[in-house]
């Protein structure tokens, strides 16, 4: 017990870093994913190709590779990101691709009649998207987005490889130093807590949107 209290501060500060990366990635990648998804359903073919290529690239290569590429690779051609910014850059670009695909599916499930009905009521395209389409898409995509959000909590541990002091790194350091399993078990418990809280919040959000069918 004494040992747990001793290492807990460093684990909690690691968890703080994990949370920061988690939140900033969501704040960056959700809107970016939405914009990309509008491009994916756009009638402008070159734009569609370009974004499809982007999604293919981001989903087709390991996130770990992308992290290493941004932090260790790009400096070789003169583009230098500090650690933390490199991590956010890679995570936001990667998750935006997944969200774009999820939103595309949501957008395409909105019946064409809804667009036509908005059109004969003279709503502009942007009004239609904002007031009619997005509210309906949000409800449809919440479960799939939730899945990615949970994934992101755990994926954030990949920043370990570029030397950021997140939760996993804090536990690993303590285990190596003190030769005990306890820190790793605590790390697992903390991840479980984070995902449990997130799952709870996602349920609440889902419930908030259940007032219509």
């Amino acid at each position: 017990m004494h040992y747990i209290l001793e290492i807990l501060p460093s684990l909690l500060s690691g968890a703080g870093m994990t949370l920061q990366i988690f939140l900033w990635t969501l704040i960056g990648s959700l809107p970016l994913g939405l914009i990309l998804s509008l491009g994916l359903i756009s009638k402008i073919k070159p734009l569609q190709w370009l974004i499809n290529f982007y999604v293919w690239l981001m989903r087709g290569t390991p996130l770990l590779l992308q992290l290493i590429f941004v932090f260790y690779g790009l400096p070789l051609i003169g583009v230098v990101f500090p650690r933390y910014e490199a991590a956010l850059f890679a995570f936001i670009l990667n998750y935006a691709a997944y969200f774009a695909e999820i939103f595309r599916g949501g957008l395409q499930s909105i019946d064409n009649g809804q667009y036509e009905s908005a059109r004969v009521l003279r709503l502009s395209y942007s009004q239609t998207i904002r007031k009619i389409v997005i509210p309906q898409v949000v409800k449809i995509v919440i479960p799939s987005v939730g899945n990615e959000v949970i994934n992101l909590i755990k994926d954030s541990s990949l920043v370990y490889v570029i030397g950021i002091g997140d939760l996993l790194r804090a536990g690993n350091v303590a285990t190596a130093r003190d030769v005990t399993l306890v820190p790793l078990v605590l790390v697992a418990v903390l991840y479980l807590l984070l995902t449990a809280v997130t799952t709870f919040i996602l349920r609440k959000v889902e419930k908030r949107y259940s007032y219509w069918k």
Binding site: S117, L121, R122, Q127, Y211, W212
Partner: protein, 213 residues
């Protein structure tokens, strides 16, 4: 008064509407009847600006206009879709006030007052706060009518108004449409139900597949 002159519409090399002319006088009801595939709905979609015609002219009160590109708020053509296409995430009242506030720039209270009047007029007084999924088919249709009327259309169009409802509701729809006629509304009704169409029509237009005249 709505006039169509020499309207032609083809999809690929299939001519659906061939040099069609018709006139709908103010306050009258035009029924468009014919078998499936005769182009009734296509004609309605051209009049309501959801399809672009290949050639021909539209005139409202003697003034030329193109329903496909017209975005001004005069010469509004209202539409009641076969499946109503209500916005499922908005209450009945929000369905009605959305376009008047966003497009006609009515104030919230002005739009609400107008909506309440329409709800009373269409026997929906108690349903303003409900969501579309909580209503019966007939009620949903009346909401769709109220939503279209809130935009103060010159002409109100219906696509198969009886087909999504119980057969015994047919007379209700007849009464409703004739009631709106008594209020002075100009209406165009597309239907494959000949008796229904005859009961309400001042003018009948029969369309036949491939040789639409």
């Amino acid at each position: 008064m709505l006039e169509l002159k020499n309207i032609t519409k083809s999809f690929g090399d299939r001519t659906i509407i061939n040099k069609l002319s018709l006139t709908v006088k103010d306050g009258e009801i035009l029924s468009i009847v014919g078998p499936s595939g005769a182009g009734k709905t296509t004609l309605l979609r051209c009049i309501t600006g959801l399809e672009q015609v290949d050639s021909g002219d539209f005139l409202v009160d003697g003034k030329a206009f193109d329903p496909y590109t017209n975005r001004t708020n005069d010469s509004v053509i209202g539409v009641v879709f076969q499946n109503f296409e209500l916005f499922p995430h908005l209450t009945v009242r929000q369905n009605i006030t959305l376009a008047p506030t966003m497009v006609l720039k009515q104030s919230e209270s002005e739009a609400k007052a107008a909506a309440n009047k329409l709800l009373d007029r269409l026997n929906l007084g108690d349903h303003g706060e409900q969501y579309p999924y909580q209503l019966s088919g007939g009620q949903q249709q009346r909401v769709a009518i109220a939503r279209a009327l809130a935009m103060k259309p010159n002409v109100l169009c219906y696509d198969e108004p009886t087909s999504a409802l119980d057969p015994n509701l047919r007379q209700e729809v007849e009464k409703l449409i004739l009631g709106l006629k008594a209020d002075g509304m100009t209406q165009i009704v597309v239907s494959h139900d000949l008796t229904f169409a005859e009961n309400i029509a001042d003018e009948m237009l029969h369309v036949e597949p491939n040789q639409t005249k």
